[in-house]
Symmetry: C2
Subunit: 219 residues, 2 copies
């Protein structure tokens, strides 16, 4: 497991001290978040689309409709850039200039390949559901062969990934520490609210919220 960048474009050039190349850091960010922003080029122009993903080992999976312009582009093997960002807090410095944000982000470069084997697709679907709501897969009606056909699944290798992380308090200029402005961190936390049951169609299930929903939290 290398501690340095896997390729020149993977190297964090701005504020290199924030760069992280170990897979433990990268995996922890990928496992906590579940939305990525996928960048690709169409007609020479960039496009950035948010989507969910799942990770299994060295592979990132994304999925969607075969009609999706993003998936149709990526499955042709074009370069993509997948970025995952977690915002941990606002960093309030004494100077406006040194205001910042505490964040953890992962940038993955590569070319995706389509997962065509139905068993592998089913496993990717399971991973995608379980990554977002652990415990949910066994409490759903699983995909049919027709639904698998109606889903494009792409796999992206994580070998060209890097992370960038900012933590801690603001860093002001020496002479500014004497200023009277409050300075510090305002943490931001994403939590689950009250589950809202869908009562459409006289549902057969108990109105009891499953444990994995009631106690939902990201790792």
């Amino acid at each position: 497991m290398s501690e340095g960048p896997a390729s020149p474009r993977t190297e964090v050039k701005r504020l290199p001290a924030r760069g992280r190349y170990d897979r433990e850091t990268i995996d922890a960010i990928l496992d906590e978040a579940f939305v990525c922003h996928v960048g690709f080029v169409i007609d020479g122009r960039p496009r950035v689309i948010p989507t969910t993903y799942a990770r299994a080992g060295d592979t990132l999976y994304v999925h969607g409709s075969p009609a999706s312009a993003m998936l149709r582009s990526l499955k042709r093997g074009v370069d993509c850039c997948v970025t995952v960002t977690l915002i941990d807090g606002l960093v309030l410095a004494r100077s406006a200039f040194h205001h910042s944000v505490n964040y953890r982000c992962v940038v993955v470069y590569g070319t995706a390949t389509e997962v065509r084997d139905p068993e592998q697709k089913m496993e990717a679907m399971r991973l995608l559901v379980e990554h977002i709501v652990p415990g949910r897969w066994d409490d759903t009606r699983w995909p049919t062969a027709k639904e698998l056909t109606a889903t494009t699944v792409l796999a992206l290798d994580l070998n060209e990934a890097s992370a960038k992380v900012r933590t801690g308090h603001p860093v002001d200029d020496d002479e500014d520490y004497a200023l009277p402005h409050w300075a510090g961190i305002l943490p931001l936390v994403t939590t689950a609210g009250e589950p809202e049951r869908d009562t459409t169609g006289s549902p057969a299930g108990e109105p009891v919220v499953p444990d994995y929903v009631r106690r939902y939290r990201r790792p």
Copy 2:
């Protein structure tokens, strides 16, 4: 104010019913979020970088170090795509296939222009601070001429923007509504935690947390 897409690439093609082209919807999303993902092309390859932004009228501002590869690329007037995403909740359907996410996202296409006038740059810096922490600007040491020089500010017009929004409960296949699985929405909410004061350098200020920090919430 047009209710249709401003250009072909701005049109939401997948699930067109989720497309929104009115500026009210677009502005509300841009004003609630404060992190965007900027996509651009370097050597023919896509790159996606998270950064903060602010909106004023028809203009989106991003800023950063003049050494930033992103800002150096964008200020040359290359095409970019700026995507802003808010995640509102997890949508748990009876079928794995119909699981979804409630989200609101804005995609802006265009070419950025550099803001060079010091007064305009100062105003953009104010907007960037005030967008993220309303009330903060007047409680900071403002940028010096040197700091303004050490900041690149770019402006992007919002005339080629669209939004995509999913709300509400899962939509399952008719025959699945009889299944016993709990279905519904698990709302996700981002809130501010306990402010952590930076006590570095024997700060002169009172340890009282300002109101705009203590009562922080996104619009």
